[in-house]
């Protein structure tokens, strides 16, 4: 399999994924609120997208984060965690295919964040339905987690344009963020 990223991009994605996993495991102890994991996830995925500037960067970051989390045995561990990190990233990348260059960077990141959050909450909904939870209760939990996660995800998305602009000011990005 030939991967389209050059080594430097791949390494940056890997570092971001590792940092995401570690920060997530450290923050989890302090806060009791569900949905705050969407903040870090959205932030690092969108940073990867902004820095590498390619479709597929977010999926790579998500899958790597899942693998690293599995290896470091962070969180509840186990094979399910791959899905947990990978699914929102894949949804965001898929959405990016349809709206590349459609909005300004700020709105693009917000829409992407909401889509990622939808995938995240949707995964919870599907697993709850599979388990046999009644559909009303599952929908109520879905709505709750979407609202909580969405607030965190949008907060992260709002930070992205500024961070990218500052990275560009340090001459670290190949292309100016629009």
């Amino acid at each position: 399999m030939k991967s389209p990223f050059d080594l430097q991009d791949a390494l940056f994605i890997g570092f971001c994924a590792t940092l995401l996993v570690v920060l997530k495991s450290m923050l989890r102890l302090k806060l009791g609120l569900s949905g705050h994991s969407m903040f870090l996830m959205t932030f690092f995925y969108l940073i990867c997208y902004g820095v590498v500037n390619r479709v597929g960067a977010m999926t790579a970051c998500g899958l790597l984060a899942g693998l690293v989390a599995m290896m470091l045995s962070v969180g509840k561990g186990g094979p399910m965690i791959l899905l947990k990190f990978g699914l929102p990233a894949m949804a965001m990348d898929l959405a990016l295919l349809f709206m590349a260059g459609a909005f300004s960077l700020r709105w693009r990141t917000i829409v992407l964040a909401l889509i990622g959050c939808l995938a995240w909450a949707g995964k919870g909904l599907i697993s709850n339905l599979l388990v046999g939870m009644s559909s009303q209760v599952a929908l109520a939990e879905f709505g709750l987690s979407f609202i909580q996660g969405g607030a965190f995800a949008v907060a992260a998305a709002l930070l992205i344009p500024t961070v990218l602009r500052r990275l560009h000011a340090h001459d670290l990005l190949p292309k100016k963020p629009d």
């Binding site: 890997g14 470091l72 186990g78």
Partner: protein
């Protein structure tokens, strides 16, 4: 020494290696996790029995299960009131079963991470990964202590500078953007520089120029 080595190799014929054992454990936890979702209610008792064995194994190896139990209780506290509000008292038992299934789905993962070494899981995963991504994962995990050290130093320096990012100040969500600009942004800059340096170093050693990359032998810890 030589006799010992021969003995070990003879034993290895009859015994599966640590890596194969880890692959089996990974498969088992995958099967048990999906079993929690798809098995009918009548078969749930057997699943509980198997998972109880896993818990005994994990606790026997001196691992803590309290975090997982706390998660289960939190899930119960969220789901049961919702069931009560929407369906009334009659279906509370169903809610308990749902939470039990979620808990049973998480248990094999806990057992896997409690009993298997991370590097063995990594070896199993690298069977299916391309060489470049395996290198990336190995590099990120290997550099993790360095990254954490760097992050801690930046945090300490920014605290000395008077940024509002002490644990007490972070209770106020108003200070969270400051954490991003003071700590995460410098860390990102460091990571970008680090990845550039590592890529240059690896390329100078002809990384990716040969189709079959060589590996440092990883069998040293197998007795």
């Amino acid at each position: 020494m030589l006799v010992n080595g021969r003995k070990a190799s003879k034993m290895a014929v009859f015994r599966i290696s640590a890596t194969q054992y880890c692959a089996l454990a990974l498969l088992l936890s995958l099967v048990l996790s999906s079993g929690a979702f798809f098995l009918p209610n009548s078969a749930l008792g057997w699943l509980i029995l198997v998972d109880a064995l896993l818990v005994i194994h994990g606790v026997y190896l001196k691992n803590k299960i309290s975090a997982l139990l706390r998660l289960g209780v939190a899930q119960l506290a969220l789901t049961l009131p919702l069931y009560y509000l929407i369906h009334g008292e009659g279906q509370m038992l169903e809610g308990v079963i749902v939470v039990l299934r979620v808990f049973l789905a998480l248990l094999p993962g806990w057992w896997l991470s409690a009993t298997q070494k991370p590097e063995r899981i990594g070896e199993v995963l690298s069977w299916g990964l391309p060489a470049k991504w395996a290198f990336v994962i190995a590099a990120s995990i290997g550099l993790l202590p360095y990254m954490l050290q760097e992050t801690k130093e930046i945090y300490a320096i920014q605290c000395l500078r008077g940024a509002n990012i002490t644990p007490k100040a972070l209770r106020n969500p108003k200070n969270w953007p400051e954490l991003i600009y003071c700590v995460v942004l410098p860390v990102l800059i460091q990571l970008l520089k680090l990845s550039k340096q590592m890529a240059t170093a690896a390329k100078l050693r002809h990384f990716g120029c040969v189709s079959k990359p060589t590996h440092w032998p990883a069998k040293r810890e197998e007795e």
